[in-house]
Symmetry: C2
């Protein structure tokens, strides 16, 4: 079975990584498994080559990602590592391509490289490897590490497997290519444990998160092929759950055969809602709906915020979908 190996790291990126000795690896706020796993894996690979890395995220590592070996490498403050001229050490920006998404737009780096797979590309970074065809940044890091001649250890494999798993819905999304499964097979051979990773990703809910899910499912309203659920400030208070606990909630009503769009309204302040949209298949582009309210996202997952009471916000949404 031949590997298509479509993802080839640019030569200038390899040169940059070989020539420099101290790197600041940064990724986006609200980091997910791809952001975290890619950053840690690249940090481990570079350090095995005798380099020094600082791994930065403005936000803390979410509790349920702390099983990732090396997650303690993350810091929320960049030490004063300068390379002369008052500039910080070279930057590697991962899983986003915009300094603002990482909260580092005010800093000056000696040089910079961007490795990302998102579609909207900003004009940031001296060296850019942005490939929207890649299902995950973790897959790009896998090829990069191989090109650098670094052995994929069990710890690196666990981080990259998690990165790829999260961004492909553990192999359920349409970006699950043969290449994704072939690389994941290689990562298992290198020591990644699929069931250990899946249990940590999907089966470590707190009681309060589960109680909140119960309450949210009880709010389900169905309007033709649109499922609407909502969380009130009172539900957050009653259960002790936080907004981060609701991340996967909009996915649940997608289970319904009759549903094409699932919408979750979260009350984050009195009469102020954070709204997440999820759609199935390729028929409905929810990013287009979110854009009407000043939000954005991908075709199957998007969001926006609105100042209104629930009834008004819901009616505005239903109207926008109809259009």
């Amino acid at each position: 079975m031949s590997r298509p190996n479509k993802l080839i790291p640019p030569k200038e990126l390899l040169r940059f990584l070989k020539e420099e000795n101290v790197f600041i690896i940064a990724t986006h706020v609200s980091p997910d498994g791809d952001a975290l796993g890619s950053s840690i894996a690249l940090s481990m690979a570079l350090e095995s080559l005798g380099k020094k890395t600082i791994v930065y995220d403005k936000d803390p590592v979410p509790e349920f990602y702390k099983f990732l070996p090396g997650s303690e490498r993350f810091t929320d403050s960049i030490p004063d590592v300068t390379r002369g001229g008052g500039q910080l050490s070279p930057l590697i920006l991962l899983d986003c391509n915009d300094a603002e998404r990482a909260g580092i737009e005010k800093l000056q780096f000696a040089s910079s490289a961007v490795i990302d797979h998102h579609e909207t590309a900003r004009d940031f970074g001296a060296i850019k490897w942005i490939d929207p065809k890649s299902p995950a940044t973790g897959l790009m890091i896998f090829y990069l590490i191989k090109e650098l001649g670094v052995t994929v250890t069990r710890e690196i494999a666990t981080n990259l497997y998690t990165a790829i798993a999260i961004d492909t819905g553990t192999f359920r999304y349409s970006n699950t290519t043969p290449e994704v499964l072939q690389v994941s097979a290689e990562l298992i051979e290198a020591g990644a444990d699929p069931s250990y990773i899946a249990e940590n990703l999907y089966e470590t809910w707190t009681d309060s998160r589960f109680r909140l899910l119960q309450k949210v499912l009880n709010t389900l309203e169905i309007h033709n092929d649109i499922a609407i659920t909502h969380v009130t400030l009172e539900m957050f208070r009653e259960t002790g759950a936080a907004i981060a606990d609701t991340e996967t909630f909009p996915g649940f009503p997608r289970k319904l055969r009759s549903i094409k769009i699932s919408v979750l309204f979260r009350e984050i302040e009195n009469n102020y809602y954070k709204i997440s949209l999820r759609s199935k298949g390729r028929d409905v582009n929810v990013a287009k709906i979110a854009e009407k309210f000043g939000g954005g996202g991908h075709s199957n997952a998007a969001g926006y915020r609105i100042r209104a009471d629930f009834k008004t916000a819901k009616e505005a949404l239903l109207k926008a979908v109809k259009e």
Copy 2:
């Protein structure tokens, strides 16, 4: 990357499939994706070699498996295909190794072969290929089809991918080996569509099934690391859902970090319960608990039935777990 290729079909099985011309392919009652996908794929492969097959299951194909190409091949009556001597055509029994599990224990076949991956092996079948190391019967059928020199079509690939996906929890269980992912990659290359299959498997719930889940989650009781949920006859009536709709329900409370065992009590008659147990990790063998009540299963998934009211049944279970 070398393929370990541990699964080698026995020569006598290949000879049997080449020599005979009419086969009855049968699988177990309450067929799952592995039973259905394996049977259809083998039927298609044998027919492409000019053979005739009858694909039998005592139970009908569940509604949400009807997306499988070729699912209409299943019949619940075996026609009078005799090969002389009053015996039926040769049998291939799939995904079980016991004629009773398929409801064909009273029939006489001219000869028989068994292909299965379950641990408990009965003394049935002239030719046996039973390999508990295989994560799915579908994986064995994949190798068998290749050995027979049959091209894996898109239809065969969709059936085998579904078979493997179901029995590995779409690559989340501990039986997700590198081989599983390598073969699945090859099946995608042959035309299987991972997101189409996942949507059909996991996102085609009826409204009544979803409403029943809401009710069941509301019954959650936590006893230390044991989660107990239950369905009453009244809930079935109120929602219009059937017992088959509850198949995945015991898995939900596993999401809780604090839970090691999840138990669902389903009232199937007044004071008569069908009980399903699910455990996480390798610490708890729920088959041992089910055996105390005359049931059985696997280490992480088992079940039994009991005649008692809910309170009595629950207390007996909690006592059995403690022991």
